[in-house]
């Protein structure tokens, strides 16, 4: 704990200028928002209800801690858990498929020749474009499938790049030390790949949140995406904005967890 406090103090000492400017820009934004909202209200604009003041949005957000959400009449953590679960499932499935595929396509020329056209055709299609059909075909799993698609390609491409970047002299060294093919794979290629995989995972997480919110906004009754849609349908605009803030926070948190995990991992592996 002492270490942590020390680290925190050092962080402030090194970064207080950046923190100060960051605070300034956020405050300026909030003030501008507040003034605009106040202006709409004072001119009796029809638009006023669409732009609630930041304080009103904050009240809506804080309200979730004391009462169930008024629009969906469940506690907000039900939505958060629903979205996290989908992201997690899509994520695990994407890892399970993308890693072996990337390994194959990175190491076997034939696998690359077979897979590349498919990858190049489907990769540029935004995962969101699949929402209408996936929600029909996969039902409750539709959102998971969208997340899967969004996360799949960044991980696949990074694993493939990683396999191709393995320093051949490391494989030579392992072989002269007595490694067979399997051992070269588990003891050289896999450890070499881990940083590449982490890059894919971090990129994938960002895409994942985009996908999940979009999918939930189209269909379903739970999840933060649904929270946005239902709040807006019912005219609960403060709650709609609060849900947007919630997504921002959740996305920062998951990316933060991934970055922390990566730092731990690379520290443990001696890469940093």
């Amino acid at each position: 704990m002492v270490d942590f406090a020390k680290e925190l103090r050092r962080y402030f000492q090194d970064h207080w200028r950046n923190l100060l400017f960051g605070l300034l820009s956020v405050s300026a934004f909030l003030v501008a928002w507040h003034l605009y909202s106040y202006y709409l209200e004072s001119t009796d604009s029809d638009f006023a209800k669409y732009v609630p003041a930041p304080g009103v949005v904050a009240d809506a957000f804080m309200g979730w801690f004391s009462d169930p959400d008024p629009g969906t009449s469940v506690w907000v953590d039900v939505h958060v858990v629903a979205s996290l679960k989908r992201i997690f499932l899509g994520f695990v499935l994407a890892l399970a498929v993308a890693i072996p595929t990337g390994l194959l396509m990175g190491s076997l020329r034939m696998a690359d020749a077979l897979g590349k056209p498919i990858v190049e055709i489907f990769r540029p299609i935004p995962p969101i474009a699949w929402i209408p059909i996936f929600l029909v075909v996969f039902g409750n799993w539709g959102a998971v499938a969208i997340v899967f698609l969004g996360i799949f390609f960044p991980i696949l491409l990074n694993v493939q790049l990683g396999v191709r970047s393995v320093d051949p002299v490391l494989i030579d060294a392992a072989r002269t030390l007595g490694a067979n093919r399997g051992q070269v794979f588990t003891k050289v290629i896999i450890p070499f790949l881990i940083p590449y995989m982490m890059t894919g995972i971090k990129v994938g997480l960002g895409v994942g949140w985009m996908c999940i919110v979009a999918a939930e906004m189209v269909g379903g009754s739970t999840g933060v995406g649904s929270l946005i849609r239902i709040s807006s349908d019912l005219g609960l605009f403060p709650h709609m904005y609060a849900a947007m803030v919630l997504i921002g926070i959740l996305s920062v948190l998951t990316t933060g967890v991934a970055a922390l995990f990566e730092r731990r991992l690379s520290k443990w592996m001696g890469m940093r």
């Binding site: 002299v169 001696g270 890469m271």
Partner: protein, 259 residues
């Protein structure tokens, strides 16, 4: 005979043509002997070493180590690389233990062996450092210890000090001789430095320009530790240099008029 190479040949495809890299290379290395392979760049000295290591296929001839034909790489032939080739995610100790791990040597035994090697190569205090924290010289100490951990019959060294600065290089040459006399390994050492070869070797194999074969084998015959400034040292150096210069000229002539 520890290493027995007869009529070794190596042909590379190069576009539609084939390049004869090595042709009729013969060499016998005795138990505990220190032999340097020296030659102009592109003469195939590294290829010879890689074939003995089993990292590359030969096109003709025979290669035997302790009477057994070489088929593929194996732990009985340890190799040390110019690029160090350490596993960056492993500490010095765990790099050294790599070969033992592959053989499923129990952890206590691994520890004991790696500790002994850490002492031998002078890595005390750096056991838990990762390669990126080590200087070039320290890295190569790990490389040597890692190759020795398998107790190989021969140690194959591919310009192991080529990436080091001159001072470190001289120090590492002395260190290698110390380690060599302590372990009594048979060493086949590739270098392009005449000075290094004369300082280290029992015998120096001067190779011809491509296609590479043995031009001459020069026994050094000086007692160790050798003094680089002594008259005898300079005399041997001069002799090796004269042989090598002719091959350099041939290699250069070939470069200027490609077939």
């Amino acid at each position: 005979m520890t290493i027995d190479i007869r009529g070794l040949g190596k042909v590379f495809p190069k576009g539609k043509k084939t390049v004869i890299a090595i042709d009729g290379f013969d060499l016998q290395v005795g138990e505990g002997e220190f032999v340097c392979l020296l030659g102009p760049s592109g003469c195939g000295k590294t290829t010879v070493l890689r074939i003995v290591a089993g990292l590359e296929e030969k096109s003709g001839g025979t290669v035997e180590v302790h009477g057994k034909a070489v088929v593929g790489a194996g732990p009985e032939r340890g190799m040390v690389f110019q690029e160090f080739a350490l596993f960056p995610w492993r500490t010095a100790r765990r790099n050294i233990e790599f070969g033992l791990e592959l053989k499923s040597v129990p952890e206590i035994e691994r520890r004991r062996i790696s500790s002994k090697l850490i002492d031998l190569v002078g890595l005390q205090g750096f056991e838990d450092a990762h390669p990126r924290e080590l200087s070039g010289g320290m890295k190569q100490r790990v490389g040597i210890a890692r190759a020795l951990a398998n107790e190989p019959a021969v140690l194959l060294m591919d310009e192991p000090f080529g990436a080091l600065d001159a001072q470190t290089r001289n120090l590492m040459q002395k260190e290698l001789l110390r380690i060599w006399s302590a372990t009594k390994k048979t060493v086949l050492f590739v270098t392009h430095s005449v000075d290094e070869a004369v300082f280290l070797a029992d015998r120096i194999v001067v190779m011809t320009a491509r296609p590479g074969k043995v031009r001459e084998i020069i026994p050094v015959g000086l007692p160790r530790p050798r003094d680089r400034t002594s008259g005898e040292f300079i005399a041997v150096r001069g002799k090796v240099l004269a042989e090598l210069d002719e091959e350099f000229e041939k290699a250069r002539a070939k470069e200027l008029s490609p077939d």
